[in-house]
Amino acid sequence: MKSIAYWISLPFVALALLTGCQKESTPAEYNAKAADTERYNAALNKLTEVVVHDIFSPPVASRIYAYANLAGYEALTPFDPNYQSLAGKLKRFSDGPQPEAGKQYCFPLASTRAFMTVARALTFSVEFYDEFEKPFYEKYKQDGVPDDVYERSMAYGEAVAKHVLDYAAKDNYKQTRGFKHTVTNAEGTWVPTPPAYMDAAEPQWNKLRCWAMDTCNQFMPTRPLPYNMTAGNPYRKEVDEVYTIGKNLTKEQEATAYFWDDNAFVMNVAGHVMYASKKMTPGGHWMAIAQTVGRQKKLSMMQMVEAYALTSFALTDGFISCWDEKYRSNMVRPETVINKLMDPKWTPFLQTPPFPEYPSGHSVISTAAATVLTNLMGDNIAFTDSTEYKYGHGVRSFKSFRDAANEASISRLYGGIHYRSALDNGQVEGEKVGNWVVQKATTRRKAVAAR
């Protein structure tokens, strides 16, 4: 005769079998394990890998990071009472699905699920995620997340992702596809640049809905120096500076320029043989910097996701603001001017990226990102950035986020792809964007902020 204990234990045995023989954990136990910051980091790094493979241009890449992190953030906020949804704080972003009251959730799982769902939807080579996700979600089960909680959390993450994707569908991205920038060949205006003479990237990017900003031209930089190649003219002086620096680059300047290249697609051409070197975009690079310092500061998952989200908003608003100006001023690249009027054989150290010169995108977005990160993690945090190492770009150390942003900015002058005023004015613009994001996208509840 079977004991009563047998009958009681049966369902548990079955459950244990189903969940891979883990023993049931308490929410406190499994959430502690699930809230491992490195899991979210791994998901983000996987996204970067796909962004690099699929060759997204810098603005488009920033948009992908922003929606994925917004989803990751929104699905995680119920986990921490000190944090709040960004509904009503980002432009036209409304309240999303709420977790069911009284039910248990593993919000860290919901968060990574939401992140991955958006990442999958906005990128192309999804087979990269397939192999990643299988063992990835298995870990949460090993943490002891009960099946029903697992399913519910996954479903919640997907619901948040859907809410974010619906939001994404209305940002005009789709409407701006299939148009090209019209090259007029007027003196001093942008024309396609060697060696690939690619079309200008994203000529209608300013039509995208802003994130924290009210309008795309809210932080319009001062006017660029008017094109004038008369000797002694301020514009001419800046051209001369690019040329002179380019001709006398030091090893250190070369290393700086190369480190911050962040060109998504460099075509290497040897006769008919061509192959592409692909790298993180500037946005991807700043996600990686946030990760590096976040790890160093031992940020909680909530803090890390907050950092990613706010940084990516700074990046997207930075790109919208910057691109708005790029196609307004439609400024010619130094390579074009120097080849035409000064030295037909001069080639910049970096390949000129395919869009108008003013202002420097890296200056705008790096400063915007650094401003947000400084606000979140503090100033004067020294760090070593080895995230570019695997792209063959070495390792560099910085005194602070701002120090890194300053170097990213000046690197474009060394690289021979920007004039100095595009750097300086771009940095001013980026700082304004960053501060605005900090001010508008308030992630922490007032009580916390007041404390």
Partner: protein, 1084 residues
């Protein structure tokens, strides 16, 4: 009609025959003894990444080296030694390399080989080129002088020909006509420079990369000059030969391309550098006149050949490129099709170049029309050597192309997604490049400017990697055998079975030249048989890195009989031999030639002579319509200028349509033939698509109506049509009903037979919304030029209309045409036109541009000439395999997405690359994450069933320009000679040009602004077709028409004896119709 069964029977027999034995059979190397493999060893230091030309292969030369009457074979090896095979007869060869001492310099990288009797002793010598990542000492070219005993000695240094540049091929010919053979050498660079540097590099001279011309000083020495100088002297610079570092010469052909008796040189250059067409200036110098004579060239031009393909005694040019033929490979390998990049290339000073083989058919002295796409020979994959020769002996030269690349390194997935990181193992990286073998191509000449691919029937159904190629009658049986030098596989010897299997006739011609040129290099031979004349020039350097130095061989078809042979030696002496029997070797000696060419050329009066027209230069703005609709087939903004003429009351008027760049202009022709501008108050800078003179207020004066619009005109008020009434004091603007349609054409007709002229205005493409169409409408006249608008609805993307009473009910009817629509008749129902009662000729659905009524059969009613896209693009559409245009806003983003596709084996393949289609509908990038995934995708793979069901589809099945016979109100199509299909037709003039009582046709057109993949179509320089009655037309050659106009003509109108041609983005052209034209012989 009685002929048909016979033709059918013979073609069936022919087919059955060719089924049994292919024209060429591959021989077994062990049986022939020709055992040679150009084997490559890839190493860490020497490979395709370190040396761009690592896979370029090597050459083969065919010539009789021991004067035993049999053609021997010499192969070069890049890394392996060269080989010489002595022809022992009956397709048996003996390897005599070692004894002959011709294996080549150890450690050298051998490339091209040329046979020439350099020391003029009657024995062929061998010149071998060297290149590669090797020091200078290993790169000196070798001149292997024939010791007359099957041994050879390298005497290049002594002769001044030991050039150590990166050499590809030499070509020996007598450029200064002093009697001895000079040498043109093509070299290449190691580095592919950026095109932005071109301007500076073009003036540089690079010893290693630049081409060179060496002058043979034999004659000068004999005359008492110094014998201290080397025999050959580098005269490149003073002779005007470019030697810049951009040169990547892969082919060099010599021919008298402008028919002035002096040999000219064409150099085909790989990569971005233009090809060079060096015209001999007859004073020891050359001038590159490519741009004056050739509209566009291959981009990465490889090998080339020059010979007369259409038997008009004018040499034609074919250059090779890398465009694959199949849909899948076209989509896997990137195909440069970026308007912006192309414009940058032009701005950087390069000529029009596109990635495909180009077939340049000579039209007049040294003027060429490119019609490779019409001919069907544009895409032969990664091609190296081309040979133009009559392989089936039918009297027309065919085309052989050797091709293949060891690794498909331009595979787009490799380029974009192999994710190479710097520092990876080089050999590993190379191994990742996919390998695809391809079949060599062989095309039969259809004798009508088109060619048929005979890969299968002629025995080339084998995938190989072939580089060098040569032809020669190796078994002395009267047909040409083929030899290829292959990479990493045995060289091939293909035996021609034409003479073995059929009684086809031939004539072999052996030339015995002068003391300094024993083989008669540079002589021209014409063989005339009935009405047909075949021409061959004796320049043996042909194919790629190769040489075909056998005797000349002429195919005479299967009709027995004698032929007449004329030879013209380089110095102009000629000899004609009549009644020559076929199937033998005819020896022609310079000694028997007479000094002067018989005066055969009598000047005939041409139809046209140069005329003077109004001073008007049409301009187009530089904005690209592709910025707004990236898949647009052409730049619709670059339209016009159409012309309107009036000859009422003896007053000759012409209005030239304008656009936003400059307003149109009204001119009056004065009695002295000159033109005077007349003011047209209120005329703005509107884009006028069509203009019309007609008396609209019944005062007997020509009023002027302008149909305004424009694809790129966004402002509605700038599309408003305009009307001016002629008054005694000048033109006065008259108000019209408000409209904003993109009116494409305007015609006057008294629709209601009330005695005044009403107007039809056709609607064209909706601005920025291709393929949506704008409304067409009637303007009903109250007799005083007050008009009431009657909408006819949307009738299609109309381009033109014709008025004629097609059903003879005395009410004028309307025939409308347009892009992607059938020829459509709108019958006038006793004064009413209704779109609902239109008759669509669905079998005549085309890409129509112009329509012109004319009585072509002299039966008193009006027939029609309809100008279509033509066949000289890669677009194909027939009843069996129509082209389709499917459109909808598939991704619901507010823009119209449209996709042109072709039916291949019942499947609809989109006509765009993965990048293009994904740029239009970005969600497709998710479906096609690789180029491989898209390579075989059909339209059905791109969209789901529901989407396709909702989408609209248009279909076309006829691309030819046609004449339509009006037979009791029904239109019956008749075809025109193939020459009418070489370009889109935008201008039609019908009149009796040759004064034989029938209405002839002048067709003009071209389109230089189609998307690059469709191509710059520019082969029409003014085609005059003589009406031979019974719907037969024949081309009148350019030298008899006297008309040669380059560029995009958009309208042709006649004003008295003046022919006016509206040139898009150019000066208005004029020609004078001569009064006393003789009856002219037409081409066929």
């Amino acid at each position: 009609m009685k002929l048909w069964p016979a033709v059918l029977l013979s073609s069936v027999l022919f087919y059955a025959c060719s089924q049994r034995t292919p024209l060429f059979t591959k021989t077994n190397p062990e049986e022939t003894g020709v055992q040679f493999t150009n084997q490559l060893q890839e190493t860490e230091t020497e490979n395709i990444l370190s040396f761009e030309y690592f896979y370029n292969g090597a050459g083969v030369a065919a010539g009789d080296l021991n004067n035993d009457g049999r053609v021997d074979l010499f192969f070069t090896g890049n890394q392996v030694g060269n080989k010489l095979f002595l022809n022992k007869g009956d397709m048996h060869f003996a390897d005599v390399t070692d004894k002959a001492g011709v294996g080549g310099r150890v450690g050298g990288w051998k490339t091209g080989v040329t046979l020439a009797d350099v020391n003029a002793d009657g024995w062929l010598d061998i010149y071998v080129c060297y290149s590669g990542l090797r020091p200078d000492s290993l790169r000196r070219n070798q001149l292997l002088i024939n010791n007359k005993n099957l041994t050879f000695t390298d005497r290049a240094a002594e002769y001044g020909l030991a050039d150590s540049g990166y050499s590809v091929q030499a070509n020996f010919f007598d450029y200064d006509l002093d009697g001895d053979l000079d040498c043109f050498l093509i070299n290449h660079n190691l580095k592919n420079y950026q095109r932005k540097e071109a301007a500076v590099m073009r003036v540089e001279r690079d010893y290693n990369a630049g081409d060179k011309l060496f002058r043979n000083m034999t004659v000068e020495r004999r005359k008492g000059g110094s014998t201290a100088t080397p025999l050959f002297v580098d005269v490149s610079e003073q002779a005007g030969i470019k030697g810049n570092p951009l040169g990547f010469g892969l082919g060099v052909s010599v021919s008298d391309l402008n028919n002035d008796g002096y040999p000219d040189v064409y150099v085909s250059n790989d990569f971005v550098e233009d090809d060079y067409l060096y015209i001999n200036q007859k004073d020891g110098t050359f001038r590159d006149e490519l741009r004056n004579r050739i509209e566009h060239t291959s981009y990465s031009a490889m090998g080339m050949d020059v010979a007369d393909l259409n038997n008009d005694s004018r040499p034609d040019i074919m250059t090779l490129d890398m465009l694959p033929e199949s849909n899948a490979r076209q989509k896997l390998l990137p195909w440069p099709d970026n308007w912006t990049v192309y414009q940058a290339q032009l701005r950087n000073g390069f000529w029009h170049q596109n990635m495909r083989n180009m077939l340049q058919i000579q039209q007049a002295d040294g003027q060429f029309a490119e019609l490779g796409q019409l001919a069907g020979v544009a895409a032969t994959d990664w091609s190296w050597g081309v040979l133009l020769a009559d392989f089936d002996l039918d009297g027309y030269k065919d085309i052989f192309v050797s091709n293949g690349i060891l690794r498909d390194f331009t595979n787009a997935d490799f380029v974009k997604f192999s994710d190479q990181t710097p520092g990876n193992n080089v050999l590993e990286q190379i191994k990742q490049m996919p390998t695809t073998l391809t079949k060599n191509y062989i095309f039969r000449n259809n004798q009508d400017l088109t060619f048929t691919n005979e890969q299968k029937a002629w025995g080339f159904d084998e995938s190989t990697v072939s580089n060098g190629c040569a032809y020669a009658d190796l078994d002395n049986d009267g047909d040409l055998d083929l030899i290829t030098n292959n990479l990493n596989e045995p060289a091939r010897l293909y035996q021609n079975q034409e003479r073995e299997t059929k009684a086809t006739h031939y004539l072999t011609i052996k030339l015995v030249g002068t003391q300094d040129n024993p083989f008669g290099i540079g002589a021209t031979v014409e063989v005339s048989q009935n009405a047909r004349t075949q021409t061959q020039e004796r320049y043996p350097t042909r194919g790629y890195e190769s040489c075909s130095h056998g005797d000349l061989l002429v195919g005479l078809g299967n009709q027995p009989g004698t032929v007449s042979v004329m030879v013209r030696w380089p110095d102009g002496r000629v000899q004609t031999v009549k009644n020559v029997n076929s199937d033998q070797t005819l020896t022609l000696s310079y000694r028997q030639a007479t000094a002067n060419e018989p005066a055969s050329k009598t000047a005939t009066d041409a139809i046209f002579s140069p005329g003077s027209g109004p001073d008007f230069v049409h301009k187009v703005d530089s904005t690209s319509n592709f910025d707004r609709q990236i898949l647009l087939p052409t730049q619709y903004s670059a339209a016009g200028p159409r012309l309107a003429v009036s000859q009422r009351n003896g007053q000759k008027l012409v209005f030239i349509s304008g656009n936003a760049q400059q307003p149109g202009q009204l001119f009056q022709q004065l009695t002295d033939g000159s033109f005077k501008a007349l003011p047209l108050p209120g005329l703005t800078k509107a884009t006028t698509n069509d203009a019309l003179f007609a008396d609209l207020n019944g005062d007997g004066q020509p009023d002027l109506y302008l149909a305004n619009g424009g694809y790129g005109v966004a402002e509605a008020d700038r599309r408003q049509d305009q009307l001016w009434l002629a008054t005694p004091t000048g033109y006065v603007a008259q108000l019209l009903p408000a409209e904003a349609d993109n009116g494409s054409c305007v015609k006057a007709l008294d629709i209601d037979r009330d005695g005044d002229l009403d107007l039809f205005v056709g609607g064209g493409i909706k601005p920025f919304r291709f393929p949506a169409d704008d409304e067409s409408f009637l303007l009903i006249n109250d007799g005083k030029a007050h008009f009431a608008r009657q909408s006819l609805g949307r009738l299609g993307m109309l381009t033109d209309a014709a008025i004629l009473d097609i059903n003879r009910d005395t009410y004028p009817d309307l025939v409308i045409i347009g892009e992607w629509m059938p020829v459509t008749v709108l019958l006038n129902q006793k004064g009413k036109l209704q779109a609902g009662t239109r008759k669509e000729y669905t079998e005549l659905a085309g890409w129509w541009n112009r329509i012109q009524p004319a009585d072509l059969d002299g039966d008193g009613d009006l027939d029609l000439v309809v100008g279509n896209l033509g066949l000289n693009t890669f677009v194909r559409a027939t009843a069996e395999q129509p082209a389709t245009l499917i459109y909808d806003d598939f991704d619901q983003n507010g823009t119209l997405d449209f996709f042109m596709s072709y039916l291949i084996d019942g499947k609809r393949y989109p006509a765009y690359s993965r990048d293009e289609i994904c740029e239009q509908v970005p969600s497709l990038r998710k479906k096609f994450t690789t180029y491989q995934a898209y390579a075989d995708a059909t339209i059905e793979d791109c969209f789901d069933e529901q989407q396709l069901k909702q989408a609209k589809t248009r279909e076309i099945n006829e691309l030819r320009t046609l004449v339509l016979e009006n037979k009791d109100g029904t239109l019956i199509p008749h075809s025109l000679p193939m020459i009418a299909q070489v370009s889109p037709v935008y201008g039609i003039l019908a009149t009796d040009f040759d004064h034989n009582g029938t209405t002839d046709l002048l067709l003009m057109g071209n389109n230089s602004r189609m998307r690059l993949r469709i191509g710059k179509v520019d082969a029409n320089h003014g085609i005059v077709l003589s009406n031979k009655r019974n719907w037969q037309f024949a081309e009148i050659p350019v030298d008899k028409t006297g008309l040669f106009v380059r560029g995009d003509v958009r309208d042709v109108k006649q004003l008295g004896k003046t022919i006016l041609m509206g040139l898009c983005a150019g000066k208005l052209q004029a020609a004078q119709l001569n009064d006393q034209s003789h009856k002219l012989a037409s081409k066929r």
